[in-house]
Symmetry: C2
Subunit: 213 residues, 2 copies
DNA sequence: GGCAAACACGAGAGATCGCTCGCGTTTCTC
DNA sequence: GAGAAACGCGAGCGATCTCTCGTGTTTGCC
């Protein structure tokens, strides 16, 4: 979880060092978002941060570690701030509210941290990041499955998994469109994403939580 | 459209050369699909094709040209074989049939040519390919808009565009899931994709073409 | 058969990028 | 204030990748 990696040699950081790390991670975030992970050169990250390549390697053992630390911090913040977005809901909650609240939270997070999308959806990302992404993916899927099964007790496991995958896939598609627009148009796409999810799920949950209003 | 690029010096190809080109493009397709465009090295493509690096450059001026020629041929085949998938339909056609037919055609094409998805969705692809992708994207969007407006004459232009974008986004999300599975599970995802699209569009087209059956 | 052009080879030139190293500067600790 | 450790620099090493070049082989044409 921390930046050091030399075994049991914590390398006490000064305040200046912590500042540099934050600076470098911020620079890496902008470079990763604009050029992607592989195309981003460590020299470019150092330049963006206004330091020399050598200084960068004072704090990170290699390029992958930068992405990993960035991913760790984002993942941590995501779990901390929005971890409850997919908490089990009161079965009496209307489908529209449940979907709307979850979508709003995740969209807000991704709009605040566009690098998250870039790191998680690049086809060129290295092994460790992929592992983290898969872990997050699995977590999200099981959460969604939990929500679905609480509303659909009789669903077959294979259908449950497939429906959860579809929900996540639809969300990702919508997220891409949302991030590609701004202002009121962005808000409109958020609404369309909610519509797509609600309409997709409504027939499954039946009339009880149907989209009538 | 052809491979030569030296100005007005057509470089007459022999039958052997045409065979090599096809061989190299096939090798490039497999390498691109497995490693992505940037990570794919020209030497690896040549090795996959069983020829030397020098031979590769006898037929392609650079790495980008390989991807471009591959994209051109795929694009051509796509327009030729499935260009009518989004042709204007009889307004009396049920929504389910129209969506189902279009999805089936595009899914079949992408399953036959997985490299198409890899080339079009990699974040690392070079300029020319992006242009082609954008052109295809725009074509598909206007086709979808045409279909939608023939069924929804009163829709506002902004809503029309947004709905078309959503349809294409939902399709891409479903395509990714479809390509990630095989056999009967793949078929199930195709059906889910159709469901998602139909349910998304059904409320718009009203009861006339509604999803009842 | 003989000539020119197309095809084929593979070593390596040239460029880029991740990362290191030696040395100088700042900060902490006593 | 002195010593140690953290911080900072930037030239450049080594690895990798795209693309070239000189040379040899095959094919098409008369």
């Amino acid at each position: 979880m921390s930046v050091n990696q030399e075994k049991d040699q914590p390398r006490r950081r000064q305040a200046r060092g912590e500042r540099r790390i934050a600076q470098l991670l911020e620079a890496a975030a902008t470079v990763f978002t604009t050029t992607g992970y592989t195309a981003a050169s460590t020299n470019a990250i150092a330049r963006e941060a206004g330091v020399s390549p050598g200084t960068l390697y004072q704090f990170f053992p290699n390029k992958e570690a930068i992405a990993i630390e960035l991913g760790d911090r984002l993942m941590h913040e995501m779990r901390e701030t929005y971890g409850e977005a997919l908490a089990p809901v009161d079965p009496a909650t209307p489908l529209e509210q449940a979907v709307g609240a979850a979508v709003d939270r995740f969209i807000a997070f991704n709009c605040e941290h566009p690098v998250f999308f870039a790191l998680m959806h690049g086809p060129d990302i290295p092994g460790r990041i992929t592992e983290e992404h898969d872990a997050l993916h699995a977590t999200l899927l099981s959460r969604i499955e939990g929500l679905l099964s609480s509303v659909l007790p009789d669903i077959r496991p294979a259908d449950l998994s497939r429906t959860a995958h579809m929900c996540l896939g639809l969300y990702k598609a919508g997220l891409e469109l949302v991030l590609a627009h701004e202002g009121t148009e962005r808000d409109a796409y958020v609404q369309e994403l909610k519509n797509a999810l609600i309409r997709y799920l409504a027939p499954l949950v039946g009339d009880r939580l149907g989209p009538t209003h």
